[in-house]
């Protein structure tokens, strides 16, 4: 690792941040040292082994920020503009153990909060991302786009027990799990019968309320009020939910084929929208506005001068992070393995960080390292 900053990449990065500021984003520099809790809570335990953790004298767990989205979000929530529309940009180091490359590396990005014109905000992020690559003299990066919101709406519209819907949505970001889920769903009736199958089958045909009371009463008789943070009601509810799951609830092969048909949709956004409209027409499933949002976004992208036909959209594309809720994108260049730029919409994050009302949020981060590696001589003027 060099001690002195090298001229090339840093100059380019400065120009990049200046371009963000000209686009109306306020430069912000959150502390490097952050509470570890939000990262672990939002990114999952798996990130722990890649983080640099330490403990303060009071026993609170701190970390060197592994990304800037959460620190910028927290700074926004603590600022006077919390809840209002506000946009921030940053340039700074993040810290993560990586298989290849130094654990400290630079990111420059944008986070946009509180804008209700979601389609326009989404389109602006991708357009700004493309401008960043242009600034580095990168010709035509590969543009990969997905929309988590389409999958969520699609699953919500399917006739499936709630437990299976939860699972499919959760496993969307883990592709082998999703395939595994579909196998499980199709085969579940062939699996071993549940321990209480007889009871569950009997309860399934009875009045739901009475069944709920019965299970809750039985648990209460056993002297169980709330164990391990789950209330008797919660346990009873899910126990009964299993009745509907296990009593021969096998995913019909048509439903599986439908899910697979949905996940196979790919192409440029207009082609994909056409296929999805056909799917909706064939199945009478409502995607509840998610498809409209998708099409409006494509319109905004075209209006911003983005070459829409060059975008590679896929319904199955996700970024592997649970906090994305809608539009997601990555810009790639064949010269590097990781994305040059990656981002997306994360409307649920700010409530998880303590906001009282949901606040729409979208953003992206550019990897200075990757941009400089691909760019013509470290950035053009």
């Amino acid at each position: 690792m060099s001690i002195m900053p090298t001229n090339g990449p840093d100059l380019g990065a400065q120009q990049l941040v200046s371009s963000y500021m000209r686009a109306g984003y306020t430069l912000i520099d959150p502390p490097v040292l952050q509470p570890a809790e939000p990262f672990l809570d939002l990114s999952g335990e798996d990130i722990r082994r890649r983080m640099f953790l330490t403990t303060d004298p009071h026993g609170h767990e701190l970390c060197l920020r592994p990304d800037l989205t959460i620190p910028v979000s927290r700074a926004y929530l603590q600022s006077p503009s919390a809840g209002k529309a506000a946009g921030f940009c940053y340039l700074g180091a993040v810290f993560r153990h990586r298989e290849n490359g130094a654990a400290e590396f630079m990111q420059a990005g944008i986070e946009s909060f509180g804008r209700n014109d979601k389609a326009a905000a989404d389109a602006e992020m991708l357009a700004l991302g493309l401008e960043a690559t242009t600034l580095y003299g990168i010709g035509a990066p590969e543009v990969r786009v997905g929309d988590v919101g389409l999958f969520t709406a699609f699953v919500a519209a399917l006739e499936l027990p709630p437990a299976w819907k939860r699972r499919l949505v959760k496993d969307f970001n883990r592709k082998w799990s999703l395939a595994h889920d579909l196998d499980q769903l199709t085969l579940s009736a062939a699996g071993s019968p549940p321990e209480y199958q007889g009871v569950l089958a009997a309860l399934e045909r009875s009045d739901p309320k009475a069944a709920h009371h019965l299970v809750a009463d039985l648990l209460s008789i056993a002297g169980i009020a709330a164990v391990g943070g789950r209330s008797v009601d919660e346990i009873a509810e899910r126990f009964l939910e299993q009745a509907s799951l296990d009593a021969g609830a096998r995913l019909p092969s048509e439903t599986r084929a439908l899910i697979e048909r949905f996940l196979a949709v790919r192409g440029d956004p207009d082609e994909a929208a056409g296929e999805l409209r056909n799917l909706v027409a064939d199945t009478k499933l409502s995607l509840n506005g998610a498809l409209d949002l998708f099409e409006v976004r494509t319109g905004f992208l075209a209006a911003r001068g983005v070459d829409v036909r060059a975008i590679r959209f896929s319904t199955a594309f996700g970024r592997g992070f649970d906090y994305y809720t809608g539009f997601v994108f990555e810009l790639h260049d064949s010269k590097t393995k990781g994305p040059l730029i990656a981002g997306g919409r994360y409307d649920a994050l700010l409530t998880r960080l303590g906001a009282r009302e949901p606040i729409p949020a979208v953003g992206f981060a550019a990897s200075i390292e990757e941009l400089a590696a691909c760019g013509a001589a470290g950035g053009a003027a």
Partner: protein
């Protein structure tokens, strides 16, 4: 004088007793020349080995660093404490004591949770309902993370626990736990149950070698002699010696006995007078004795073996092959 091979053994409790008797059975008496409170020792009448008495966790840490050559410790600790265990150490042999399962346990009241798939669903439902993740208390954070990732469970948080993990759900500091258990009795006493497919690791004491230790001096030869003793005892323990002599004993009959009872003929087939020595797994000894008498044997003697030295030594060969093999590449 060349540098000694350092063998780390547990410094207290059942693990120490079991380790000492394992070595004693191989004719290796661990002694503390400077008194029982000493943390360094030697092996009586066996040169080149220094014994380091340490806690099982400390043994594992020292193996990872290569500060000791060989150590007796639980596989659970090795897999938990060394991120890439197969890169840093060689598991030479399982020792047949110190059995413990590392398992996922939840409150018994969770009648709707039987397997990891249920737990996965409950964890996600819990997060959606309570706006926080379920907490899991454990000393085995690394094993837990890898196991949960394999099962696609993501909606949980690990709460480090340094003792009495099984009490965490009742105390309200966690919803579930991952802990070691031998019989499950402690878990049951705390109102917990093990999930059907929730056994993360079936662990026992292992003889483990550190790749990073210095193996350039006389340590390889010392290790070979040590493993020769251990292997001789291990092989002796796995067989009984069966001897007989009768005219009808021939190669065809021997072949049949080998197929039926898994016997070995360490000194070759029957002599011209039908004299034969066999090594037979203990559980087949009586059936073999009947078989031999049915075919004409007047008498069959069965005796326990102290040591069986063979030209080959599988423990040592596996160890050397592993030690010289380039460490497995990290996931590229």
């Amino acid at each position: 004088m060349s540098a000694p091979l350092i063998l780390a053994v547990p410094s207290k409790g059942r693990l120490q007793q079991n380790t000492e008797s394992l070595f004693a059975r191989s004719g290796l008496e661990l002694v503390k020349p400077r008194g029982s409170r000493d943390y360094r020792g030697t092996i009586a009448d066996f040169d080149g080995v220094e014994i380091a008495y340490l806690s099982a966790a400390e043994i594992t840490a020292q193996l990872a660093q290569g500060a000791v050559h060989l150590g007796v410790t639980g596989e659970d600790l090795v897999r938990e404490m060394i991120a890439d265990a197969d890169r840093d150490v060689v598991f030479i042999d399982q020792l047949g004591f110190g059995f413990a399962n590392v398992a996922v346990a939840v409150p018994q009241a969770w009648i709707d949770v039987r397997n990891m798939a249920d737990l996965d669903d409950v964890a996600t439902a819990f997060r959606l309902k309570h706006e926080r993740k379920m907490r899991l208390a454990t000393k085995y954070a690394n094993l837990t993370r890898a196991f949960f990732a394999d099962h696609g469970v993501v909606d949980y948080r690990i709460v480090e626990s340094s003792g009495a993990t099984e009490g965490a759900p009742a105390a309200g500091t966690a919803e579930m736990i991952v802990d070691i258990t031998t019989t499950g009795a402690t878990l049951a006493a705390n109102g917990l149950k093990i999930i059907d497919d929730g056994i993360i690791l079936r662990s026992q004491a292992n003889l483990v070698a550190a790749r990073a230790a210095s193996w350039d001096g006389g340590q390889r030869e010392t290790a070979r002699l040590l493993l020769d003793r251990l292997a001789a005892e291990k092989r002796a323990h796995a067989y009984r010696e069966v001897r007989t002599r009768f005219a009808g004993m021939n190669d065809a009959l021997l072949k049949e006995a080998q197929e039926k009872f898994g016997v070995a003929a360490p000194f070759g087939g029957p002599t011209s007078s039908g004299m034969l020595t066999l090594h037979c797994p203990p559980k087949h000894v009586h059936a073999l004795a009947s078989f031999l008498r049915d075919h004409g044997a007047e008498a069959v003697s069965v005796a326990a073996l102290d040591y069986v030295y063979a030209r080959d030594n599988p423990l040592h060969e596996r160890f050397m092959a592993e030690l010289d093999r380039d460490a497995p590449a990290k996931n590229a």
